[in-house]
Symmetry: C2
Subunit: 377 residues, 2 copies
């Protein structure tokens, strides 16, 4: 059985005052192409469908259109849960009625997990849909006063929904699993969160053959090959700029063995950092990418943002190196290095040593190796 696992769609998100709706529409076309090409048995949406509980009209319309295309044109079931950004009631709207169209969605937390049974030639696959819910909601649903953290909420939820281990079982949920890395969080925030009330242990997921997670925007596996975040469809913060975005394709064999492939997504506009002197940047060809520009000029500059936007219309952030304590003393070299992906750095290194650019096969090998090291696939 084949799944296309995605999550953290965040339809309607605004990043530094720029609406992402057209970028989301652009990348969804690629998702639909993958559905068309790879014909998964179901698309799994692991929460944060919208960016907020009350999404703008265009976000609602975009999701509606996506569902229509996947379900009606591509005849592929969609199984979805609400994330912490979603309004549970909105996501739940019409959920029982939608099942006739093979859209299965769990918005509001219920004591009994929604279970969807899919079939392939090896038999049934039980897919459980567990939406994000505050532990207080879980405590009330189970009338269990001992639930005082999301970890306990997860434990109680899964214990009270025993699965049939004779069959294959998949869980779709939205949580911060201990060990996951979140590029969006600063180190100090991460320490507060991991192991705290907001994270859950990967051990709860042991009985499942695959756990399709949402919440962390970086593509990664956590603790085990079968517990994965697909990551967000787009880079929504400059802390994510060095990560390739993708959707995760999972093949589950008749005996529950997994193979995983990351299908890359190309954004309409990349989100990246540009560093240099104002005049140098203005003399370059320009770009419509979403940019954080770090200027290395010293002294006063006259309307740098207005000038930059003539060449780079989508500058999101303008920073001056000398005003930024992060960069003080570190120099430009480190900064320039940090802008490059490991793949690019290796290509530079290769070229430096061999005197020629890396050949495609070698570059692919490096990409795979880096993905493995990162735990992405």
């Amino acid at each position: 059985m084949r799944f296309l696992h995605l999550g953290d769609l965040h339809f309607g998100k605004i990043v530094n005052s720029f609406s992402m709706i057209e970028d989301q529409q652009y990348v969804l076309e690629q998702v639909k192409e993958y559905v068309k090409k790879y014909k998964p048995d179901a698309v799994l949406l692991a929460g944060d469908i919208y960016d907020r509980s009350v999404p703008p009209a265009r976000a609602v319309s975009l999701y509606s259109q996506f569902l229509r295309d996947v379900l009606m044109e591509l005849k592929t079931p969609v199984l979805a849960v609400a994330g912490n950004h979603d309004g549970a009631d909105l996501i739940s709207f019409g959920h029982e009625l939608f099942e006739a169209a093979h859209y299965y969605v769990a918005g509001r937390y219920t004591k009994e997990m929604k279970k969807v049974v899919l079939h392939d030639e090896h038999g049934p696959v039980n897919v459980y849909l567990l939406p994000f819910a505050d532990y207080a909601v879980v405590r009330e649903a189970h009338q269990d006063e001992t639930i005082k953290s999301l970890d306990e909420a997860m434990r109680v939820t899964l214990e009270s929904n025993p699965i049939n281990k004779e069959e294959r079982n998949v869980l779709v949920t939205h949580a911060f699993v201990v060990g996951g890395e979140d590029p969006q969080e600063s180190d100090s925030e991460k320490k507060l969160v991991v192991g705290g009330k907001e994270s859950v242990s990967a051990t709860h997921f042991e009985p499942f053959d695959y756990v399709a997670l949402g919440h962390l925007h970086r593509t990664q596996k956590v603790g085990s090959d079968k517990i994965r975040y697909s990551g967000s469809l787009l880079k929504y913060s400059f802390s994510e700029e060095n990560y390739q975005k993708s959707v995760t394709m999972i093949d589950l064999s008749g005996t529950g063995e997994l193979t995983c492939e990351l299908l890359p997504l190309t954004p309409r506009r990349d989100l990246r950092t540009l560093t240099g002197q104002l005049d140098d940047l203005l003399n370059q060809p320009g770009s419509e990418d979403y940019l954080r520009v770090i200027l290395t000029d010293k002294g006063q500059l006259l309307e740098p943002m207005a000038k930059l936007r003539q060449v780079y219309p989508n500058v999101m952030i303008l920073d001056l190196l000398e005003n930024n304590s992060d960069f003080k003393g570190s120099g430009l070299t480190k900064q320039a290095r940090e802008q490059k992906t490991p793949e690019q750095l290796f290509a530079d290194f290769y070229e430096h040593h061999k005197g020629e650019t890396i050949h495609e096969e070698g570059a692919q090998l490096i990409t795979q190796l880096i993905q493995q090291l990162r735990g992405e696939c």
Copy 2:
């Protein structure tokens, strides 16, 4: 073929700072009982499902539950359009997917009207769903610069969607039809609106066998027996306090003849005006109704609202007769008279003349007569 026609649900409405959600839930139970009892072929919802384009979560949840009950438990199709209060995109969400569950909804305006064909033993009935749309939207959809009013928008829409007059045809839409009476509007506002850019002529509806309208909160027919407002499910303003709320049941014969019955709704709490002296009112049994209290006391009163709310917890508005220019010089008698429904006034008159209270049969006869005079049924 039988329809239950309702409109102006306004889920999530707040009236004078009081949420109506529980009142809406209460009255929906009666609607469902009518569906159960009278087994209509479809429920028609003529717009203003929500009170605002971005409704609160509980309103979304209430509508979802209502749809589930009517469609899945009572196995009755629901045909709905968006009103001017609704967000077209939200109402449209998943509309193609919902059709598998027999929920047909037109949220966004489209050049081609959504047509749902229902069948009875006499053949097909074509039900057209035309949501509210600003005339600028219609102008753009038709690329017709001559459309400069809602009336022209309606004309162009209906002209470009020719109907088969050999069959029976029903229109569900949301509009202010010329000749309709809106208790919510003051006289001065009404003059601005009727015949202006915002109203449409009833003549456009001539080809239809029935037109199920939403927008005006008073139950009424307009221009013809076959063009009707079902009215709102609840009284949402004190200008509506003398009107009985109902849903409209329509039977359409094989030859397109109509019979109409108004099925009354009983609110959880009535919305009414109470007039009198503070001390007298405080000595009465009290009530949980939503009240406008008009105090006839002269001179200063100490915390009248706080005192009243001990006996009448849901006082919405407190007015002092002597401060209210509407009442100056008119005295209490007219005011007291205006509070009473025509039915109550007749009952008083009967009792005054005959020396006995009116018998039930007589009262029913008077109610029917008044409904006819009012053009309600």
